[in-house]
């Protein structure tokens, strides 16, 4: 988690700014100390991260969340428990604050029980899209106030993890419908759930088929190609894109293997270690979400998806903000389309430094 990686300052990307000349430094100024200041500020404020897990019941969503954040956020349900199957899709969120080495992370996980479980799953993605747009709306309402809060609480969904069942064949129609709609509104990371039922060859074949399906239907999952800023990003993200979707296994029980205590699933023929790259790709998912791309996920949500939503809403109200005036937005119609529009806006918003921390 790199608190120092933030979007570049507005001046570097605006074409209209005066040309900055590089000048010779005549002595030590101490600009580097800015990084320390940012760090201290970040540690004091803490970070926020909101993820959503979507998938049919039984694919290990709750267990995966527990494994990712190494804490019993959710009591993972065994099949024997009397958990009534929800008749319609419901969403519920839980917020936890976890701390590591002095860094606080306010984590909100939104679960979607009942997704894809009914006989007729048509339009089961509508409540999810509604929830995501609702968070954008909430943020927008706060943003257009005259006297704004110093730190707008960010409940927008930064990342949506979609669990694909390990059939070994290809994406199902339900998966395609969902991914097509959601990739335009939020960052989606598809994963192959319960991958311990696939052998290595089956896994690779399945992965290739999914990648082909995604390409055929023009579905852009995170990390999106069009948002790669420079060459190093491209190289890093290309490596990740080759392995998407990751084949993951989640576990929250510990077992002893060769004297070490590991998280895993114990079966009669062996123990599947969750953090062993030879067994599954959970470390890749964890690194992507937490260790390397957490800030990037938030940035893209803020700069692209939220901006798309904002433009759409403002166009809907036939008004554009002129200066610090009060903009009376038309109430959000609930017939909001799945995506505000195909426009992929790569604009850097103003005052990002205030908003992110």
């Amino acid at each position: 988690m790199d608190p120092l990686r933030q979007s570049p300052s507005p001046s570097s990307s605006r074409a209209s700014s005066p040309r900055t000349l590089s000048c010779e430094r005549l002595g030590y100024v101490g600009i580097e100390a800015v990084l320390d200041q940012l760090k201290i500020k970040a540690m004091k404020m803490g970070f926020e991260f909101n993820i959503m897990v979507v998938g049919q019941s039984g694919l290990g969503k709750s267990t995966m969340v527990n494994t990712l954040f190494k804490s019993k956020m959710w009591r993972s349900t065994m099949p024997g428990l009397r958990v009534p199957m929800p008749q319609t899709l419901q969403l519920h969120s839980m917020t936890h604050v976890i701390e590591e080495n002095g860094v606080k992370l306010k984590l909100t996980v939104t679960d979607t029980p009942g997704f894809g479980d009914q006989i007729n799953n048509d339009k089961c993605w509508d409540p999810i899209l509604g929830y995501i747009n609702e968070q954008y709306e909430r943020y927008l309402q706060e943003e257009i106030l005259i006297t704004r809060q110093r730190h707008i609480p960010d409940t927008r969904v930064h990342c949506c993890i979609y669990f694909v069942p390990p059939t070994g064949h290809c994406l199902r129609p339900l998966d395609l419908e969902f991914l097509q709609r959601l990739c335009r509104a939020v960052n989606v990371v598809p994963v192959i759930a319960r991958a311990d039922s696939l052998t290595i060859e089956e896994r690779e074949a399945f992965r290739h088929r999914i990648q082909d399906d995604l390409k055929t239907h023009s579905i852009e999952v995170y990390p999106q190609k069009c948002f790669d800023e420079d060459v190093s990003d491209k190289i890093l993200n290309s490596k990740i894109r080759e392995r998407i979707p990751f084949a993951v296994v989640g576990a929250d029980r510990e077992h002893m293997v060769n004297g070490r205590c590991v998280l895993g699933r114990k079966t009669k023929w062996g123990i599947i270690e969750v953090e062993n790259m030879a067994h599954c790709e959970f470390p890749l998912l964890r690194d992507l979400l937490i260790r390397s791309h957490l800030q990037d996920l938030k940035d893209i949500t803020h700069n692209v998806h939220y901006e798309n939503y904002r433009i759409f809403r403002l166009k809907e109200s036939h008004a554009l903000p002129r200066g610090p005036g009060w903009v009376n937005l038309a109430p959000a119609s609930h017939g909001l389309p799945a995506s505000p529009g195909p426009a992929k806006v790569c604009r850097w918003a103003e005052d990002t430094s205030d908003k992110d921390f």
Partner: protein, 365 residues
């Protein structure tokens, strides 16, 4: 010759010989969502490659796919006994976004087979009746769910009175032992709650061993199975069929790993004939009784269909019209006759060759 010895103790042998000559046939239906290992399991159960050159349709093809019913037949011979196995597959089941009524084609198929048999049975030429009734349906339940899902319940309720159902948990190597037990328990409870009648094992009160085996089998319903056609070497004394993972190898025929052996024993070794008998005696007879009763009451049939009833069969009760053309049926009957004649010819040829060889031998001697 002993006066009290009549000699019908040898009747079972006669039956045995006749059955071996006639051969057995068995129609098995597999149903369930795609990706649960149905084709692999069929190949493993019968050690065939029924699904050898299978093309898995890609996602865009799946978007417009509707449920189809496919039949594949294979003849398996083991120890001189021939079994003509027909596997009825239901690709496309449970795949679409809206699966309402997706079980109706399956129900219609099963009933069509009954209708066909009813017509044949009541017809004139009963020598070469083709029995295409479904004797057993293996229903695959996903190991990833929390028991039966709404689609499973709807399908099972639609077919449970029409065919023997054996519920099976596919890809069971995804589950840890405790999870498997919990899932089986949950499914059993759900089946009882929804009043779904699955195939009941008859109580065999022959000897203790069989009784114990049967009790074990009953307890492990639904069977948690793993299928594989690949042979792996796990460092043991002999190569076994299984699936090789990085953390270990699952052996298909190891009773500790999965219930494959139980399923195979039940389906092929011990209960094959019983499944057929239950189909004939309970299910088919029930269907026949219902059908004939509804025909015997004139008010029950509407006028339009009665006028179209065929007069070909000699029975007084008119039979329901089938979409199947009569010519197709005739062709099938002729094919069957041809096959039998060919077999007889081959046997006669083999016999003459044998007698010739014997004749030469005796000449030489």
């Amino acid at each position: 010759m002993d006066k009290e010895y009549v000699g019908f103790a040898a009747l079972p042998n006669q039956l045995h010989r006749k059955s071996v000559k006639k051969g057995f046939d068995f129609t098995l239906m597999v149903a369930g969502e795609s990706g649960l290992g149905k084709s692999t399991l069929i190949n493993s159960l019968f050690l065939t490659n029924l699904y050898e050159n299978r093309q898995i349709p890609e996602a865009s093809a799946r978007l417009t796919q509707t449920l189809t019913i496919e039949r594949r037949g294979v003849e398996i011979e083991e120890g001189g006994i021939k079994v003509k196995l027909t596997v009825v597959d239901t690709p496309g089941f449970g795949d679409s976004v809206d699966c309402s009524d997706c079980w109706l084609p399956v129900v219609r198929f099963i009933e069509e087979q009954f209708e066909q048999y009813l017509r044949d049975e009541s017809g004139l030429n009963r020598k070469n009746i083709q029995d295409s009734r479904v004797h057993c349906c293996l229903y695959f339940i996903s190991p990833f769910g929390r028991g039966l899902r709404p689609l499973d319940v709807a399908f099972l309720r639609a077919v449970h009175e029409k065919v023997n159902i054996i519920p099976v948990i596919g890809k069971a190597d995804a589950l840890m032992p405790k999870e498997t037990q919990a899932l089986k328990q949950k499914i059993r409870e759900q089946l009882k709650e929804e009043e779904i009648n699955i195939y009941q094992f008859p109580d065999s009160d022959e000897d203790e061993d069989l009784k114990r085996q049967d009790a074990e089998m009953k307890e492990s319903i639904p069977f948690a199975v793993v299928g594989s056609c690949e042979v792996v070497r796990d460092g043991g004394p002999r190569p076994v069929r299984g699936r090789h993972y990085s953390c270990g190898t699952v052996e298909v025929e190891n009773p500790h790993h999965c219930d494959f052996l139980n399923l195979r024993r039940m389906l092929v070794q011990t209960h094959l004939q019983d499944l057929k008998e239950v189909t004939y005696d309970l299910v088919y007879e029930g269907y026949r009784a219902r059908c004939l009763q509804s025909l015997a009451r004139p008010g029950a049939r509407d006028r339009a269909s009665r006028s179209k009833l065929s007069r070909q069969s000699a029975t007084e009760i008119p039979l329901p019209m089938l979409p199947l053309a009569d010519t197709e049926k005739l062709i099938r009957e002729k094919d069957e006759e041809l096959r039998r004649m060919q077999e007889m010819l081959e046997k006669m040829q083999a016999q003459t060759q044998l007698s010739q060889a014997q004749g030469e031998q005796s000449d030489a001697l």
